[in-house]
Structures are given as C-alpha cells and as structure tokens.
C-alpha cells in the first residue's frame, strides 16, 4: 500500500475544490433570489 497518501491527497483536492465551487455558486444563487423576492415585495406595495 505504498503511496496511499498521494492517492488520498489527489482525490481530496478534487472533492474539496468541487464542493467549494458548488457552495460558492449555491450561495450566489440564494442571495440573488432573496434580492429578487425583496424587490418584488417592494414593487407590490
């Protein structure tokens, strides 16, 4: 089982970068949707 740590590192990097990216766009999506909802409320008044 030599070099197992390199294999582990490789896959961790992949999952880490991917989840960070998905998290960031998810948050962007949420803020924009909230903003849209807030504006819609405002306009209705």
């Amino acid at each position: 089982m030599e070099n197992l740590n390199y294999l582990f590192a490789g896959y961790s990097v992949f999952w880490l970068l991917l989840s960070v990216y998905v998290f960031v766009i998810g948050r962007q999506q949420k803020t924009i949707e909230q903003e849209i909802a807030a504006l819609r409320e405002e306009i209705k008044k």
Binding site: M1, E2, N3, L4, Y6, L7, A9, G10, Y11, V13, F14, L17, L18, Y21, V22, I25, G26, Q28, Q29, I32, E33, E35, I36, L39, R40, E42, I43
Partner: protein, 234 residues
C-alpha cells in the same frame, strides 16, 4: 421565465445522473480496476485526472464557440454561457494541474516538469484567469462582454501555438522522457473505468454549467426588475 424552469429541470436530472454515475465510477476506480504494476496504487489518480483535463478543454472550446456566436449575433445570453464555462474551465484546469502534480511527485520524483503538455495547461490556466479578470475590470456592460469575447478567441488560437513552440523547444533540448501512463496496452478494465469516468465528468460538467447558468439567469432577471422599477418610479 421559461429558461429558468428548463435550467432547473436540467439541474435536477443531471444531478441524479451524476450521483449514480459518480458512485459507480468511484467503485470502478477503487475496487474494480486492477492496480497498475509499475506505478502502484497512485495510478488510480489517472481516472479522475485525465477526464478533468479533457473537460477543461471542452469548457474552453465552449467559451470560444459562444464568444464567436456572441460577436456575430449579439445575444447577451451567449455571453453569459461563455463566462459560466470559463469559470468551470478554470475549476477543471486547477483540478487537473493539482492532481497531476500530486501524481507526478511519487512517480517522476518531482512536482513539476516543463514538458509541453504541463506547460500548455499552465498557460491555459493563466489565459482564462486573465479572461475572468478582464471582465471584472471592465465592468458588467456590453463592452466587457465584447472585450472578453475577443480575448477568448485570441487565447484559444494561441493555445496550439504555445503547445507546438514548447514541443519544438523540448525536442531541441532533450530531457529525460516522462514515463507515459496512458495509451498503449491499457488493461480493458482500466479502459472501461477511464471511459466511464469521462462520461461521468461530462455529466458533472453539464451539471455545473446548468447550476452556474441559473445564477446568470437570476442575475438577468434581477437587472430586468431593477430596470422596470426605475422606469415605473420615474
């Protein structure tokens, strides 16, 4: 908007496909595939490294395609697709570079080597970072979109020239040839795992594009509401 619901549906379907495919692919990579004899267990990085690299090319070709389409048709949506793909391309390039480097360390005994493929990838990374920065610095108007599209076209044409110039340079100064892992004599199980993983990465790519495009779509919607609001209050 109709586009929003299409994107949401795409995201959902691709998400389910991705989940199933990814589990199966991980099973392939860690359990099904035989361990490579020369390189040992580290070689298993291969099944995620190569598809990442391929998807970054895929992303950048999409960027170039949509940039040309934008310049010809001036459809703002084409430009949004180009940005989304550029970002995802940078993500995949980063993954490919880092996993490649981690794979290289135990096998070639070095983190980095200035071979044609590696160097080209690094330049590719820099070009698309510059692309994203250019958009940011011009501001989010028509002009930024035009500049970015022109830059994307120049960058895409530049990449093969970079590759050939570096290869020419390396043939002039021969360095120890790197042990090739792919290509000849791939065990059928390994080939299957690789192709399967490529398919899964393609789904991952589409999934990310759909997710990222939803953000762009919402942004456009928000701008639209703001504009209407300003008009109505005037």
């Amino acid at each position: 908007m109709k586009r929003a619901s299409v994107l949401r549906k795409m995201q959902l379907i691709l998400g389910v496909l991705l989940f199933v495919g990814m589990l199966f692919s991980l099973y392939n990579v860690f359990i099904m595939v035989p361990t490579e004899q020369k390189m040992g267990i580290v070689q298993r990085i291969f099944y995620f490294h190569v598809p990442s690299a391929m998807m970054s090319f895929m992303a950048f070709f999409t960027v170039a395609g949509f940039s040309i389409a934008f310049l010809v048709k001036r459809n703002a949506w084409h430009d949004r697709v180009a940005v989304a793909c550029a970002e995802i391309g940078v993500l995949f390039t980063t993954i490919a570079l880092i996993t490649g480097s981690i794979w290289a360390r135990p096998i070639w005994n070095t983190w980095w080597s200035w071979d044609a493929r590696l160097t080209t990838f690094l330049i590719l990374w820099f070009i698309y970072i510059a692309y994203l920065m250019l958009r940011d610095y011009v501001g989010e108007d028509q002009r930024g979109a035009r500049f970015a599209a022109v830059f994307a076209i120049i960058g895409t044409v530049d990449i093969p020239i970079v590759y050939f110039s570096i290869r020419w340079w390396r043939t002039l100064h021969p360095k120890p040839v790197l042990a090739g892992g792919e290509g000849s004599g791939l065990h059928p199980d390994m080939a299957f795992a690789l192709y399967f993983s490529m398919a899964v990465f393609f789904i991952l790519y589409l999934f990310l594009v759909a997710t990222r495009l939803r953000v762009e779509n919402s942004k456009m919607e928000l701008e639209e509401i703001k504009r209407l609001h300003v008009l109505s209050t005037k």
